[in-house]
């Protein structure tokens, strides 16, 4: 027969186990609830894009902020990425005596993957953070409430233009990134590895297919939307003064970055695995 002590400690152990299960359950519910809120927020924001009145000025401002002002950082990222790819693949492919494949490797990696993903991450750090900080400040200083009292729907005035601009601006940036990425590879291949420039470009153009570029641009549109969504959602719902705005900014960048990588996987499955 088990002693009283053993029964008691068994019950205590059971309780602790149940506590752990409960904690996991609570966290899961919290995550699900958060996802639900973000989805509702996104749906409301998108529905406001298509319903008048429209705010073309706000869209233009957001396009400049997300797209134009991100150009330098995205350009630098793309060109160095192309250079590194060429250099790395040169040493790697040499083991299979397949150095001629450098051009195709660079152009595929850049258009399909690295262009959209790296541009998305850069824009998340720049524009996503700025959006969260701006909307967060507007929230904690009552500016968002003030919009409502002035007959202006803040979801329509603040959020919808940013979502739209995000989905437009990032593909445009990625076009630039694709070109500069290939250029980076070209520079290394010709100046450093001694390839013939004409042949390199020919290899690039012969190998790349429309689908590679298009899939990258679709990815970019999704990533741009996600960056704007996380920036707006976190900023719009921030509370508690300067500190609240700070954590909203961090949350916007981190969540957008994670979502970009997660959606990148999902979209790649959809595009290339059939």
């Amino acid at each position: 027969m088990p002693s009283l002590n053993a029964i008691v400690s068994g019950a205590a152990l059971m309780e602790r186990l149940l506590d752990a299960v409960a904690a996991i359950g609570k966290a899961a519910i919290a995550v699900a609830r958060q996802c639900g809120r973000i989805t509702l927020f996104a749906a409301e924001g998108v529905s406001q894009i298509v319903r008048p009145p429209f705010y073309p000025r706000m869209v233009g401002r957001s396009l400049a902020e997300i797209g134009y002002f991100s150009l330098p950082v995205v350009a630098l990222t793309a060109i160095f990425t192309g250079m590194v790819l060429a250099l790395q693949s040169a040493t790697g492919l040499a083991r299979f005596s397949a150095e001629t494949q450098i051009a195709s490797l660079v152009v595929l990696s850049v258009t399909r993957e690295l262009g959209p993903v790296l541009a998305g991450l850069m824009v998340a750090g720049r524009a996503g953070a700025a959006m969260a900080a701006e909307l967060g400040t507007m929230r904690v200083t009552d500016q968002i409430d003030a919009l409502t009292t002035l007959s202006t729907n803040p979801m329509k005035y603040l959020v919808a233009p940013r979502l739209l601009a995000g989905a437009i601006a990032l593909p445009l940036l990625v076009v630039v990134a694709d070109i500069l990425g290939v250029l980076g590879g070209y520079i290394i291949a010709t100046l450093r590895l001694g390839f013939n420039g004409h042949v390199y470009l020919e290899n690039t153009l012969n190998f790349v297919q429309t689908q590679d570029v298009v899939s990258g641009l679709v990815k970019a549109a999704v990533f741009g939307f996600l960056v704007a969504l996380m920036g707006c959602y976190n900023g719009y719902n921030s509370k508690g003064g300067a500190q609240g705005v700070g954590s909203a900014t961090t949350a916007a960048v981190v969540s957008a970055s994670v979502l970009i990588l997660a959606f990148d996987y999902v979209l790649t499955e959809i595009f290339f695995v059939r």
């Binding site: 701006e134 400040t137 507007m138 200083t141 009552d142 500016q143 409430d145 003030a146 919009l147 409502t148 009292t149 002035l150 007959s151 202006t152």
Partner: protein, 262 residues
């Protein structure tokens, strides 16, 4: 309906309004009538829920229970559109100004006009300059950014923005806090002026007894989530109500105890 019956419907009638945040009951059954064309001043300690009260009327905070009637129609029972239309007849001066810092001053002032009446930008600019003049600011101020203004100027711009669309019901959340006494008196004068000229109804929150005396037709004291006293401003200092008495005389000892920690 006879004229007398119309006159009897107050501009704003609040009944049993309750709002809690978590465990804290901020508003605990507010009953309040504001007759059309009058100014009510709400006083009460810091954190007593004055701002929450007017945010409930403006639809910025959803109350837990109660009714808020504007011209006899319950705002809380309206659909979204009806409520938006009702809020469009209101103007609000926020406690901290809440000026849009990404827009120049004149666009702040004309924001409601641009949003509501679809006036052109050139005309809106003219109207903004006119309203700025009403609060004693030169048209050149219209080209500045909110961050370039002093606190007193920001309050005046915020006042201009609140009154620009000539609202029927005006809210002023601590319009004179943080201003020097002279500027405070100037703002009070502007508020009285504007309310009279527009024929609007006004609800103002203030901690400043002198200001309350200048603005109010009636004063209400908010304490522990309820209106504990209401009366004419000249009876404020001699109300005989222990809570009002402690508040107006700024005594440390009395029925109001500041909770330093919650």
């Amino acid at each position: 309906m006879s004229d007398a019956a119309v006159a009897a419907v107050p501009k704003l009638r609040i009944r049993g309004l309750r709002k809690g945040f978590g465990a804290k009951q901020v508003l605990d059954g507010i009953d309040l009538d504001v007759p059309a064309g009058t100014s009510l001043v709400v006083i009460g300690g810091s954190g007593s829920g004055k701002s929450v009260l007017i945010k409930c009327v403006l639809g910025l905070i959803e109350p837990d229970a109660g009714t808020i009637e504007l011209d006899g129609r319950n705002l809380l029972a309206m659909d979204r559109e009806g409520r938006e239309r009702a809020v469009a007849t209101m103007g609000m001066l926020f406690q901290n100004g809440a000026l849009f810092d990404s827009l120049p001053v004149w666009e702040n002032v004309a924001f409601g006009l641009l949003a509501r009446h679809r006036v052109g930008r050139r005309e809106a600019r003219g109207r903004a300059d006119a309203v700025l003049a009403q609060v004693g600011l030169a048209p050149s101020v219209g080209d500045l950014w909110p961050a370039e203004l002093s606190g007193g100027m920001q309050k005046r711009v915020a006042l201009a923005r609140a009154i620009a669309a000539a609202p029927d019901l005006l809210f002023f959340d601590e319009p004179t806090t943080g201003l020097d006494p002279i500027m405070g008196a100037v703002i009070d004068g502007l508020i009285v002026d504007v309310v009279k000229r527009l024929g609007s109804t006004a609800i103002a929150i203030t901690h400043d007894m002198a200001s309350a005396m200048r603005i109010a037709d009636s004063v209400a004291m908010l304490h522990k989530g309820r209106i504990v006293w209401q009366g004419a401003p000249d009876t404020l200092m001699t109300s005989g109500n222990a809570i009002v008495d402690q508040f107006t005389h700024g005594r440390r000892e009395g029925p109001i105890t500041m909770e330093l920690r919650r």
